[in-house]
C-alpha cells in the first residue's frame, strides 16, 4: 500500500517514493557504497514527504476499544485496540471536548468506540520526536469495551464472594509503628507519603516494597510484596500507591489475583491508585481508598503525633490538677468541719459581748437620763425651797402676828380683864357648870389680877 515501506524494489528517487525532490544530492553526502538504494535524502525532507503521503490516504472509520487515554496541553492521545492489533490515535483538545460533549460521556476509556479520521504523521524536528497517529475528527461510543466489561464482571464476582468487605472489617490502628509501602521506586508517590508522615510528626518504621506499578509484571510483584510485608516485615498497615494514568496503565490494579490477595490479607491495605476520578478494583477491595498518596499517609496514621504529644502533656497536667483539686477541696471541707465548734463558740462569745456592750450602753444611757432628771428635780426643789424660805421669811411674822392676835382673842385673861371671873376647883381646874361648883365646897374665883378663895353656900 505504501510504496516506500513496501518490500518491492526501491524507487530510484524520493519522488519515486512519493517524496518531493530535489533534496541534497546523493553524491554530496555520500551514500552507502554498493547499496543500490537511492539517497541518502535529508531525513526532515523525507519525513515531510511521508506525512504528505499518509495524509493522502483515504479517510475512514475505525472500530475498537479505546484505551490508554492521555490528555496533553493541546492534544489527546489514546489507542484503539482489538484482538488483532492497535492504532495510536490523537485529537486536538478542542475537538475532543466537543466530541465528549456530543457523546454525553466524561471519558470513553475502556469503551468500544467508532472513530472517524485519517492517518497523520508528525515529522518531528531537531529537538522533538516524530510520531504516527490516526487523527480523529469524530467519535461515537458503540458500547462497553471488553476491558470495562471484564472489570465489572470481576467486581460483581468479588462482591458476591464477600471479598469487597473483608478488608473493611479489619481493625486499623490509629498509630501504627510499622507501615509498609508498595510503590514504584523513585516515584513521586513515595515522596508524598514520606512528606505527609513527617507533617504528622510520625517517625516509626517504614518498609518499602518497591514494585512496578504499570506493566504486566506489576500485579505479581505487588502480590509478592504484599505477602512479604504482611508475613516477613510484620507491618501493621500497607499503602499501595501510584500516581495517575490511563485505564490501561492502572489495569494491573484490577488484577484478580491481586484483588483476592488483598481481600484475604490480615493486614489493612490503603489504596491510593490514580487520580480521584480513577476507580480500580483494588480501591474496592482495600480497607480504605484514597485519592492521593498524601491522603493515604494520613489515613494510615490517624493521629497528628505532634499535636497528640501536646495533648497528652495537657491531659497529664489536667489529671494532676483534678486529683490535687479533689483532695484539696475535701481537705478544706474537713478543715471547715473541724473548725465548726470553735467558730460556733466564737460566734456565741461575740454575741454575748455584743449584748454586754448593749446592756452597758443602755445602763449608761439610763444613768445619764436619771442624772439629768435628778438634777432637774433638784433644781426644781432648790427653786421651790428658795421660794418657800423667801415666803416664810416674808409671811411667817405676819402669820404669827395674826395667830398671836387670834390667840390673844381667845386668851381667858383678856376675858377676865373685861370683868369676867373664872371659877376654879381648889386644884385649879375650871368649873364650867353650876353643878360642879355646888359639888365643890370651896372654889377659887380667878380675877384678872388675882384669885380669891370662896365658899359655896348651899341653900
Amino acid at each position: 500500500m505504501l510504496g516506500f515501506v513496501s518490500t518491492s524494489p526501491p524507487p530510484a528517487t524520493p519522488e519515486g517514493a512519493g517524496v518531493p525532490g530535489p533534496g541534497p544530492g546523493p553524491g554530496e553526502q555520500g551514500g552507502i557504497p554498493d547499496s543500490g538504494l537511492p539517497g541518502p535524502f535529508p531525513v526532515g525532507e523525507y519525513a515531510r514527504a511521508l506525512r504528505t503521503k499518509l495524509r493522502s490516504l483515504a479517510r475512514v472509520q475505525l472500530v475498537g476499544e479505546l484505551v490508554n487515554l492521555r490528555p496533553s496541553r493541546a492534544r489527546v492521545y489514546f489507542e484503539l485496540r482489538d484482538a488483532a492489533g492497535a492504532i495510536p490515535c490523537a485529537a486536538w483538545l478542542g475537538d475532543w471536548e466537543a466530541i465528549l460533549a456530543r457523546c454525553g460521556t466524561r471519558s470513553p476509556e475502556g469503551m468500544q468506540v467508532v472513530v472517524a479520521g485519517g492517518c497523520d504523521y508528525y515529522p518531528g524536528s531537531a529537538t522533538s520526536s516524530p510520531g504516527f497517529s490516526f487523527a480523529v475528527s469524530d467519535l461515537r461510543v458503540a458500547g462497553e469495551g471488553d476491558l470495562l466489561a471484564r472489570i465489572e464482571r470481576l467486581r460483581k464476582q468479588l462482591d458476591a464472594e464477600g471479598l469487597l468487605e473483608r478488608q473493611k472489617l479489619l481493625e486499623r490502628l490509629l498509630l501504627p509503628r510499622t507501615i509498609g509501602i508498595i510503590t514504584a521506586e523513585g516515584g513521586k508517590a513515595g515522596d508524598d507519603i514520606r512528606a505527609a508522615l513527617a507533617r504528622r510528626g510520625w517517625a516509626g518504621r517504614l518498609v518499602w516494597g518497591f514494585a512496578p506499578v504499570q506493566d504486566r509484571h506489576a500485579a505479581p510483584a505487588i502480590v509478592r510484596a504484599l505477602s512479604d510485608l504482611a508475613g516477613v516485615a510484620r507491618v501493621q498497615v500497607v499503602i499501595v500507591a501510584r500516581g495517575g494514568g490511563s485505564l490501561t496503565d492502572l489495569m494491573c490494579f484490577c488484577d484478580e489475583t491481586l484483588c483476592r490477595t488483598v481481600a484475604l490479607l490480615g493486614v489493612p491495605v490503603i489504596a491510593s491508585v490514580g487520580h480521584h476520578t480513577d476507580r480500580t478494583l483494588l480501591d474496592d477491595v482495600a480497607a480504605v481508598s484514597c485519592s492521593t498518596p498524601t491522603h493515604a499517609a494520613e489515613a494510615a496514621v490517624g493521629v497528628d503525633c505532634t499535636r497528640a504529644r501536646a495533648e497528652q502533656l495537657a491531659a497529664a497536667a489536667r489529671l494532676r490538677e483534678l486529683g490535687r483539686r479533689a483532695v484539696l477541696s475535701r481537705a478544706r471541707g474537713l478543715a471547715l468541719l473541724s473548725r465548726a465548734p470553735a467558730a460556733q463558740l466564737e460566734r456565741q462569745r461575740a454575741r454575748l459581748h455584743q449584748e454586754l456592750r448593749e446592756i452597758r450602753a443602755a445602763g449608761r444611757r439610763r444613768r445619764d437620763s436619771e442624772r439629768r432628771l435628778t438634777a432637774q428635780r433638784a433644781l426644781v426643789l432648790r427653786r421651790k425651797a428658795d421660794s418657800s424660805i423667801l415666803d416664810c421669811r416674808r409671811r411667817r411674822p405676819r402669820d404669827l402676828e395674826q395667830l398671836a392676835l387670834a390667840l390673844s382673842a381667845h386668851d381667858p385673861q383678856r376675858t377676865l380683864e373685861r370683868g369676867y371671873v373664872l371659877v376654879e376647883s381648889p386644884q385649879g381646874e375650871p368649873l364650867l357648870s353650876a353643878a360642879r361648883a355646888r359639888e365643890a365646897d370651896e372654889v377659887g374665883l380667878r380675877f384678872a389680877q388675882d384669885t380669891v378663895p370662896a365658899k359655896i353656900i348651899h341653900r
Binding site: 490509629l174 498509630l175 516477613v232 483534678l322 479533689a326
Partner: protein
C-alpha cells in the same frame, strides 16, 4: 482482647478522655477520683510510649533487603 493485653493507643487515649470527663463532672468520690487519676497516669504514660516509639527517628527499610537478610539468616 484479654485483660492482660495493653490497650491500643486509640483505646487508651479514649479512656483518658473519658476519665477527664468524669473528673470534670465533679461527681466522682475522693476514692474514685484517686483511682481514676492513677489509671489516667498509667494510660498517659502508655500513650506517651506509643508516641515516643513513632517519634524518635524514622527508620526506613527495603523489603527486598529485609527478605534477603532473613533468608540468609535462615539458611545459616
Amino acid at each position: 482482647m484479654s485483660a492482660e493485653e495493653p490497650l491500643t493507643y486509640e483505646a487508651a487515649a479514649a479512656r483518658v478522655e473519658e476519665i477527664i470527663r468524669r473528673l470534670d463532672s465533679g461527681e466522682a468520690s475522693l476514692s474514685e477520683t484517686l483511682d481514676l487519676v492513677r489509671e489516667g497516669k498509667v494510660l498517659i504514660e502508655q500513650c506517651a510510649r506509643e508516641l515516643s516509639a513513632v517519634g524518635d527517628a524514622l527508620e526506613e527499610l527495603r523489603l527486598d533487603e529485609l527478605v534477603s537478610r532473613l533468608e540468609a539468616e535462615a539458611s545459616a
